[in-house]
């Protein structure tokens, strides 16, 4: 009988929650306006906008068998009225360049040639340009970006928290050296036009990066930049070194400029945004104070722990006020590992930059995605920012992989 009560109660609360759900109103700086341009596509991960205005979305869960959705406005009234669906694989990465559409599954990268009308010539038969990338479920999504010089960059997340002998087991030591780094925990570079490349034909462009989800080529300085998801479980596994509050704040989520050959230091160190130091991981003998990995990079910026920076976009447009040009937008998916603290993130931030250097503090640019202020479980967030793109008119687009929305954000005050 108790079970029946419970089932009825759970069902009732869920229907009540759905019933009371209203569209969110995004909070933006003065002069900016957001319009919802796509809705209910499910797990919309990264997005790309063609110079002609077409919006491409990559889905992590297939919608009627399709993982790529293209929306087009055929009559110029500002509303998408045409939908093209293809790509029978789930994934995260999507990019446009050189007359092709590029998209990734969790193991491979495909490309689709576009014709003069900017339609994929053969949407059911893409060229597979990269295959056989590590996919063990954990940190498996592959983000991609192009440099305009013939290369595609892909993150290969480490299938591990901190390269312990037994992953996520309290007391298990870190592997020395961390052999996962041979095929994961970094950025790999491939040619954008060669068929069926594997690790052997690629270049390990950067290493020591646990799980990059946001990456973008910065055209102002011609270099790759990334945002990294830092490690979990400092408090849970080392309560004597990190109290619950510190475990929620550490380590920083990080933003790096990545020259070829760079090393982010994972799993041996993490970035402590308070001490502004690379601190040795406790699995490798650290005590919260000892430093390590002298050869590893320092980030451009450290954000509060566990916020999950899922997308990075350098602003190249002229629509927004001048201070935005060259700066970086970062979409934070929102945390799950800050308990018992309240979860954080679920917003898009702006980092002011010039010439590839950070020129000021980060600020929240777009907020209100959760639909209800603070949440203690990310499942309670109505929307979770995941992808970013810029349109031909300099507007930016934000995607949500909780309920499949896309918003267009414009600057309206001149």
């Amino acid at each position: 009988m108790r079970t029946l009560f419970f089932v009825v109660l759970t069902g009732l609360f869920q229907s009540f929650a759905a019933w009371t759900q209203t569209p969110v109103t995004l909070k933006l700086p003065e002069g900016f306006e957001a319009t919802q341009v796509a809705a209910n596509w499910g797990r919309v991960r990264h997005i790309a906008v063609h110079p002609n205005g077409d919006l491409y979305m990559k889905l992590e869960r297939l919608k009627q068998g399709n993982g790529i959705i293209r929306l087009r406005d055929t009559n110029g009234d500002g509303v998408y009225d045409d939908t093209l669906q293809f790509g029978n694989y789930p994934g995260t990465g999507i990019a446009l360049g050189g007359g092709y559409l590029y998209a990734s599954s969790n193991q491979a990268i495909y490309r689709y040639k576009l014709n003069a009308q900017q339609d994929p010539i053969d949407p059911n038969n893409p060229e597979r340009i990269v295959q056989g990338l590590v996919d063990k479920g954990q940190h498996a999504s592959k983000s991609i970006t192009l440099d305009g010089k013939g290369h595609v960059y892909v993150n290969i997340g480490a299938p591990s928290n901190v390269c312990q002998v037994r992953d996520r087991f309290q007391g298990s030591p870190g592997m020395m050296p961390c052999t996962l780094l041979d095929s994961a925990g970094g950025i790999w570079q491939f040619r954008m036009d060669k068929i069926d490349q594997s690790y052997a034909e690629g270049v390990r462009y950067a290493t020591g990066l646990r799980n990059v989800v946001g990456l973008d080529w910065n055209p102002f300085v011609q270099d790759l930049f990334v945002t990294v998801h830092g490690r979990d479980m400092l408090h849970q596994h080392y309560p004597e070194l990190y109290d619950a509050k510190l475990g929620a704040e550490l380590p920083a989520e990080t933003f790096y400029r990545i020259p070829k050959g760079a090393d982010g230091g994972w799993p041996y160190v993490y970035w402590d945004q308070f001490q502004k130091k690379k601190i040795l991981s406790p699995e490798y003998g650290g005590d919260g104070k000892k430093e390590g990995a002298p050869g590893a990079m320092e980030p451009l910026m450290g954000f509060p722990g566990h916020l999950a920076p899922n997308a990075l976009l350098f602003y190249q447009g002229n629509q927004f006020p001048a201070q935005y040009r060259e700066g970086a937008f970062i979409a934070f998916h929102g945390s799950w590992n800050r308990s018992p603290e309240i979860q954080e993130g679920f917003y898009v931030v702006f980092v002011p930059m010039k010439g590839g250097k950070v020129t000021g503090d980060w600020e929240i640019f777009a907020d209100g995605f959760t639909g209800k202020g603070k949440v203690s479980n990310p499942r309670d967030a109505q929307h979770r920012p995941c992808g970013l793109a810029m349109g031909p008119d300099g507007s930016i687009y934000v995607s949500d992989d909780a309920r499949g929305m896309v918003w267009k954000i414009e600057y309206k005050r001149k």
């Binding site: 079970t3 009560f5 037994r166 087991f169």
Partner: protein, 139 residues
């Protein structure tokens, strides 16, 4: 009665039920200890509300893994999980830590709490049941 009226009646009834269950829990030392253990060892991943995290951590609420076979549940706690698991039609990959270091009493308390709170009040887990499963663990 209108649909909203019926829903409100259900809601009030539900709230009374929740109040009644939590009043019982407040007095039950097993559940009190279980709640503290849950907060310390489980909530970081499975979340305070037991609903898990989309894509990453499976929910404890509304799954047969919690409300069903006790021996399987005990083995998962003691050994952890190192392979993908499908819960409510979604696959999860993050490994779960082993909690072999919890005592038999602690294991029974936390599992009883989890079954009571998230498993629709499924039957408690006894110390003896934990001991039986612990004996079967690979050495």
């Amino acid at each position: 009665m209108s649909r909203v009226g019926i829903q409100l009646t259900f809601l009030v009834w539900g709230l009374v039920l929740v109040a009644e269950i939590s009043a019982q829990q407040e007095k039950n030392p097993v559940l009190l200890r279980g709640a503290a253990l849950y907060q310390k060892h489980c909530a970081a991943c499975h979340q305070a509300d037991g609903k898990g995290v989309t894509r990453l951590i499976p929910p404890l609420v509304g799954t047969d893994y919690v409300s069903g076979d006790k021996s399987r549940l005990i083995r998962i706690l003691l050994q952890g999980l190192n392979e993908p698991i499908v819960v409510q039609e979604e696959e999860y990959y993050s490994p779960m830590a082993s909690f072999q270091y919890l005592s038999d009493i602690e294991s029974a308390d936390v599992l009883t709490y989890i079954r009571t709170r998230f498993g629709g009040g499924a039957s408690p887990v006894s110390v003896k049941e934990v001991q039986q499963q612990r004996k079967k663990l690979p050495k």
